[in-house]
Symmetry: C2
Subunit: 431 residues, 2 copies
């Protein structure tokens, strides 16, 4: 590591405290970004195959222009009337099926999920919540209770966890709808557990793409048995679209549309305004009214004119530049490339994903499917050294996580594949 980076790490420890994590053994000191490229302080160029926050590309000129124009005109809050939030919410809710046509704008996805939990409480009168045992929904005190990847020290008794779906090693051994039924049975067990603890079911909250769980390959309708169990118990379904939303999956604008179900509440965050702090909750008027009646809520910065302008510009760019379509074609192309790599690299156990959110699960042995966790981490670090930023996640932390800004091209996918081929050749496959 160079001295300048070492100095920054020391300053971080002094000013921000311990355990403030960075990516990679040699953290990257990024100073500039443009499209799918970023540059470090020494002028090295990196292909960004990881960041979903700069959804339409780092520093997209139309988003930057919208922010600058509105920041120089007015920034205030929703206790005054302003058209910006209304125009945006209209455009945003147009991407959803009825009755999902009202919204709250927040500053983060965490705030959005924090509200969604209260919406579930408001509409059902119940308190129990189901999540998977390998998820993360955000950082507030309440929302962090849903986390098994970043668990809180005290666990509230109103949360029950179900095993994260794993299409490569399906629960019960059978893939497809048998797996779906096995998952639904776990949801029913969780409902009974919550009931035994005195909690009626308020909600099941899931990422409809199961992103942190390693984005298993699940057919459309796979979630229906679990959703039926939730609704039968009086609960609602919250779709956390922070990761799969806004066209990233290529085939559908939202993860729940790809999964083939209609959630009661949808939450969103990271890519919503290309990095400007914006999150949101979309739901039906019934649920919104139940929330607004039971909880007084105001968010000073939420839906302010600059945030609304940034979010609206981002949405327009996705739609006008055909970025969902691009995600589909380039994502398909890149996955084909990964499958070709699998022909020469036995460590690639499974290639999966949708649009520009995909990866490959690394295994020590294709027969046993034993996760190559340490190896996967080495690959991510090796790629960083080769100028390609990606990462890893999943139940066993052995799935490469490839999730570039949406203007990613086939030529850039070729760079990714070429460097990955090298890294896989150069890195010994060890447990």
């Amino acid at each position: 590591m160079n001295i300048a980076a070492k100095n920054l790490i020391d300053r971080r420890a002094r000013l921000l405290g311990p355990n403030v994590s960075t990516f990679y053994e040699e953290p990257v000191h990024i100073v500039r970004g443009e499209g799918v490229w970023v540059w470090d302080a020494e002028g090295n160029k990196f292909l960004d195959c990881y960041n979903n926050v700069p959804h339409v590309g780092h520093c997209h000129p139309k988003v930057v222009e919208a922010i600058c124009q509105q920041a120089g005109t007015l920034n205030t809050h929703t206790r005054y009337l302003h058209e910006g939030i209304l125009d945006y919410v209209e455009a945003l809710t147009d991407t959803f099926a009825d009755p999902l046509n009202t919204a709250i704008m927040t500053c983060t996805g965490s705030e959005a999920n924090d509200i969604a939990l209260r919406m579930a409480r408001g509409i059902t009168g119940n308190t129990g919540v189901i999540a998977t045992d390998h998820t993360y929904h955000g950082n507030t005190m309440a929302v962090s209770q849903l986390s098994c990847t970043n668990p809180p020290p005290d666990r509230w008794d109103n949360v029950a966890f179900v095993p994260a779906p794993d299409s490569y090693r399906p629960l019960g051994g059978e893939p497809g709808m048998a797996h779906a039924q096995a998952f639904a049975a776990e949801v029913e067990k969780a409902i009974a557990d919550l009931k035994a603890r005195g909690h009626g079911l308020a909600a099941m909250i899931i990422c409809p793409y199961f992103a942190n769980e390693g984005f298993p390959t699940l057919e459309k309708g796979w979630l229906q048995p679990a959703i039926d169990a939730v609704r039968k118990a009086g609960g609602i379904v919250i779709a956390d679209e922070v990761q799969p939303g806004f066209g990233r999956l290529g085939t559908d604008f939202w993860g729940h549309q790809k999964a083939g179900f209609l959630p009661d509440v949808v939450t969103m965050g990271k890519p919503m305004a290309n990095g400007h702090p914006v999150g949101g909750v979309v739901t039906s008027m019934d649920i919104m009214s139940a929330f607004r009646k039971n909880f007084r809520y105001f968010n000073t910065f939420g839906g302010n004119p600059v945030s609304a302008a940034a979010a609206h510009a981002t949405l327009k760019v996705v739609q006008e530049e055909g970025l969902m379509e691009n995600a589909r074609t380039v994502g398909d192309y890149a996955r084909d490339g990964l499958r070709r790599l699998a022909e020469t690299h036995a460590c690639i156990g499974d290639v999966r994903g949708s649009g520009l959110f995909f990866g490959a699960e690394m295994v020590l042995d294709r027969e046993t499917r034993a996760p190559a966790t340490a190896f996967t981490k080495k690959i991510a670090n090796a790629m960083r050294q080769k100028g390609v930023l990606l990462n890893f996640l999943g139940i066993h932390y052995n799935a490469l996580k490839i999730r570039p800004p949406l203007p990613f091209t086939k030529e850039q996918a070729d760079i990714l594949l070429e460097r990955l081929d090298e890294a896989l050749h150069e890195t010994p496959l060890e447990p």
Copy 2:
């Protein structure tokens, strides 16, 4: 109300749901802001005597420039190294006494208070929290538990409330340190109540200026007996500086400095980046380490390069343009003016405040001090019609709340005073 405003209100109800509050009987549709002035859609100009979020003035060119410059260069998160957050945290913590020298950047004051509660839990091992019975600390599920002004439907049993300090009607009847002792006795009672419910004391959280409580006039050191009681019980003190911070009080950069005590944790928000969604928590390395050890925390947008640039530019403007000094001199001048108005308007029972956060308590009768709540609301609405934006708050909602952007001038204070004189003459003093 004009048709355009009515249409916007209808669109809000349809897109945002019910109970999304606006200010004033005739809500203002602001489209442009500059310094302490805002303009509505019809070109009417308003003197902004209310908004603390545009702390250094609406659309301050240096803050806008910092946002534009950084938004066009790079916006990413703290898992990469970046100097922006470090330079800002260094400058920010320089405004605090030791050992308050580490920080977490968040997106909102609510997120900051949500963290502060977990810091208290982490360092003390206790769960009980004390707040006043007329406060508001934010909108997350956990933080909304501290609110009596926006109460949640289910109240957790780890929160105890103490009567909000009222210097105009002091607890026990005596002002000054007798009042302080009476307040401390209430804190001791709350500690005992929490203990009886099984909660050791984690923290007392207060706005050191008691802004929502109606900013009572309290001498330096007034809080010491209460703080002593908190510390004796093993708790920490959290100062919520969302409203008084960043020089607004004129005499001191932070409310706790004016109040004469050193908190363990300080939270901040609204004015921090002049409207860009930024909040923060400042504390000692001991408490930060206890938090970081007990709770894994990452905030995607928190401390991103654009947020850090906006916050840093705002801090620099406060410091380089002498805005704290301006708050002191113009605030003193405006309060003198209010006292002169009190000579002709018997409804003004008490003039108080500090720097550019001040007001006057409206009473039906100076002898009984009976609050003129309905009248105060009428005055706020009358002032809006006269082109001056202000509002009201306090235990009885009868204190005018005057809190303009810091570049407010004596000439602008004269406009405020002149219009207020008119409104007080024109509005009948009725219960």
